[in-house]
C-alpha cells in the first residue's frame, strides 16, 4: 500500500461529508481514518478549520549504504556484544542471521539491541567478526496536515504520530 493511503480522511460541513479537496472552511469535524491495523484514529472537533493537504517525501540514497556490525565472540562467554546500539538500523532477525552465518552450530537464545545470548558458552578462539549490512531507510514518508485557526496538526502516515505546531509551521522529514 502507498504510505499516503494508510489514512483516509473525511470532513463534515453542514451535515455533508467531504472526502476531496483542500478547503475546510466551515467544517465542524475532521477525521483521519486508518486503513491499516495499529494506526490511531484521529478526530478534530470544536476548532475552526482552514484547510488540509498532504506532504509526500521520496528519498534516494547516494553513496554506499552499508553499516559495519562487529560481534565480539569471547571464549567461555554466552554473550556476543555488538559495537553499538544497532536496533535503529537492523532487525533482530538480521543479528540472529549474522550469528548463524558465522557459527551455525550455536543457537541464539535471546537478543537485545547491544547483546546476543547464545544457547551455550562459545568454545572457540576469541575473535571479532565484522560484516556490513544495508542500512534500513524508509524511502517514502507521508504527512497529513490539517491547518486550523491558531495551530496545525500533522499526522504521520507511517506511524500515526500526531504533531501539533504553530499555524504557519512547515514540517519536513
Amino acid at each position: 500500500m502507498n504510505i499516503a493511503d494508510s489514512y483516509k480522511w473525511e470532513a463534515v460541513r453542514n451535515g455533508e461529508v467531504i472526502t476531496k479537496g483542500g478547503d475546510l472552511t466551515g467544517c465542524e469535524r475532521f477525521s483521519f481514518i486508518p486503513q491499516v491495523p495499529k494506526l490511531p484514529h484521529v478526530n478534530i472537533v470544536g476548532v475552526e478549520m482552514v484547510r488540509r493537504f498532504g506532504r509526500g517525501f521520496a528519498k534516494s540514497r547516494m553513496g554506499k549504504e552499508k553499516l559495519p556490525i562487529k560481534l565480539l565472540w569471547a571464549l567461555g562467554s554466552d554473550k556476543l556484544e555488538t559495537s553499538e546500539d544497532m536496533s535503529k538500523y537492523v532487525s533482530r532477525g538480521t543479528l540472529i542471521a549474522r550469528v548463524g552465518s558465522t557459527f551455525p552450530w550455536y543457537v541464539v537464545a535471546g537478543v537485545t539491541p547491544t547483546e546476543i545470548t547464545l544457547h551455550k558458552p562459545y568454545e572457540g578462539k576469541t575473535k571479532e567478526a565484522e560484516t556490513k549490512y544495508a542500512k534500513v531507510v524508509n524511502t517514502d514518508e507521508y504527512l497529513h496536515c490539517v491547518v486550523c485557526k491558531g495551530f496545525r496538526m500533522y499526522v504521520n502516515g507511517r506511524t500515526g504520530q500526531v504533531i501539533t505546531t504553530p499555524e504557519d509551521h512547515e514540517l519536513y522529514l
Binding site: N2, A4, D5, K20, G21, G22, R52, F53, G54, R55, G56, F57, A58, K59, S60, R61, M62, G63, K64, E65, K66, K135, V137, T139, D140, Y142, Y172, L173
Partner: protein, 168 residues
C-alpha cells in the same frame, strides 16, 4: 487515492529509471548502474569530477487534485568525509548530456536543507494534476561529486536526497 511520486535518475529529458528505493552512484562513467565499476580515483593533487547526474520527479500515480511546492534537500551534513563534496543545481527542463568536467553554477548539495531547499518546480511550474500522470514533472536537478586529493580511500557512507511535495 494519493499520488505516487518517484525520483528518477535521468538519461534524457523524459527518460530515466526509478531510484526512489535505490542508489544514485557517482562514478567515472555515464550510466545509472550501481556497481563497483568505474570508481572515482583519488588524485595525487587537486580534484577530480564524477560524471554529472540528473534526477527528476516522476508521477507514477496521480493526485486527487494537484501537486505543488516541490523541493529537494539533504540533511545538511556531508557524511562523505573530508575531500568529498557534491555540487547541485536546478537546470530547468533543458537536458544536457552528462559530463565529467567541472559543472558550472552549482552550489553545495548539503547546503540545501528542509529549511533552505533547492526549488524543484521553478521552470516546469506546478501545480501538476492527473493530466501529468505517468510523466515527468518539475525540473531537472543536476549533481556532480568532486573528490579531492585529501579524500580517504574506500566506499563512502550513506547520504540521502529527499524530494518533498504537497498535494491536495
Amino acid at each position: 487515492m494519493a499520488a505516487t511520486i518517484q525520483i528518477h535518475e535521468m538519461s534524457a529529458l523524459a527518460a530515466g529509471g526509478d531510484k526512489t528505493s535505490g542508489t544514485v552512484r557517482f562514478k567515472d562513467a555515464d550510466n545509472a548502474t550501481v556497481d563497483l565499476n568505474n570508481p572515482l580515483v583519488i588524485p595525487d593533487a587537486g580534484s577530480i569530477y564524477s560524471y554529472t547526474k540528473q534526477v527528476r520527479a516522476y508521477m507514477e500515480a496521480p493526485p486527487d487534485t494537484q501537486i505543488d511546492n516541490m523541493r529537494w534537500y539533504t540533511d545538511g551534513g556531508n557524511g562523505f568525509g573530508t575531500g568529498v563534496t557534491v555540487q547541485a543545481k536546478n537546470v530547468g527542463v533543458t537536458y544536457d548530456a552528462n559530463v565529467k568536467t567541472e559543472m558550472a553554477g552549482g552550489a553545495d548539495l548539503f547546503g540545501y536543507t528542509s529549511a533552505a531547499p533547492l526549488d524543484g518546480d521553478g521552470t516546469d511550474v506546478s501545480p501538476f494534476t492527473s493530466a501529468d500522470d505517468d510523466g515527468y514533472i518539475g525540473d531537472l536537478i543536476m549533481m556532480q561529486m568532486i573528490v579531492a586529493s585529501t579524500a580517504a580511500h574506500g566506499s563512502l557512507s550513506a547520504e540521502t536526497l529527499t524530494l518533498a511535495w504537497d498535494e491536495i
